[in-house]
Symmetry: C2
Subunit: 179 residues, 2 copies
């Protein structure tokens, strides 16, 4: 396995445990509140990660390897978890995400990707031609985007409580950035 792929797998392996350590049995103040209308709570963020583990990353890896640029990736539904699995608990979603991620990484390792494979190209429905290497790097950066979002959603709940310190806390100045 290339060192870039080893770095990616090292992060992907840790994410479920990081999120579980942070969120399991944490009081509702932190996990059941969002940043305002149309924004996500922790429950939705973990559901989105689990949904992506089913519908996004490994299916796209396989599409690149089997079809190259001749078959465009199936568009990913960012809110798919709420349509498919609206009734689960946060703990259930954390368990499911951990199980799916473990299965995903077993499947990824089984592909035994070589450097030449990482340069193979697929077709994204909006972005056009992309490499397998870019897809795998995005998988890891996507975990970090949601850890970044989650820390911001949680800090938002203390926006008033911190009083005059709010100007010193970078996370409270963050506007989100996701489209």
């Amino acid at each position: 396995m290339s060192s870039d792929l080893q770095n990616t797998v090292a992060l992907l392996t840790r994410t479920p445990a990081v999120l579980g350590t942070l969120l399991r049995d944490l009081p509702d103040t932190w996990t059941r509140r969002n940043e305002g209308d149309g924004t996500w709570v922790a429950f939705e963020i973990i559901g989105h990660l689990a949904h992506a583990a089913r519908a996004d990353w490994m299916p796209r890896v396989r599409t690149v390897l089997q079809f190259g640029e001749s078959q465009t990736f199936v568009p990913f539904d960012r809110a798919g978890a709420e349509r498919e699995d609206p009734g689960s608990s946060l703990a259930q979603r954390l368990d499911e995400f951990a199980r799916l991620r473990s299965d995903n990484l077993d499947a990824l390792r089984a592909l035994n990707l070589q450097p030449a494979d990482l340069e193979r190209r697929g077709r994204h429905p909006s972005l056009g031609s992309v490499t397998l290497s870019q897809l795998l790097a995005t998988w890891a950066a996507h975990d970090l985007t949601h850890l970044h979002q989650l820390s911001r959603v949680m800090a938002h709940q203390y926006r008033d409580a911190v009083g005059p310190w709010s100007g010193y806390l970078g996370v409270l100045q963050c506007a989100g950035h996701s489209s």
Copy 2:
């Protein structure tokens, strides 16, 4: 213990394990690179949290309780860790942070703070009059600011690797925000 203080303690209790789960034995790509000149790597972020555990939070709690607004808090040196303890490893800093945080929370619980205590006031060298409640909320939000920062510093290392996906990843649009 008030529910607000329980929420704060619940988060403060988890942070060392969250950071340890994410960072221990993670490849250097993620932990030894920063966002450019004058910015921090993971090693410096954990050092800063450990330094604050020694020099900032509980000393200020005690100053409020003992002296109220009559004694201004000792200014906190944000880069103090690099002057006091430059040679330790990331693993040593994670261990030290976990030990100090545990000691801090034991000391906080031993104070058996009551609702009236949380309204007591101290004096911040720049912000002026602040309440103990605001100080304790800031302690938790400060953990989240650095989790937010750490996820951004790590994602920065994949800024080029993700190729055209960079515009979709909120964490890569984040400019930092801390003063």
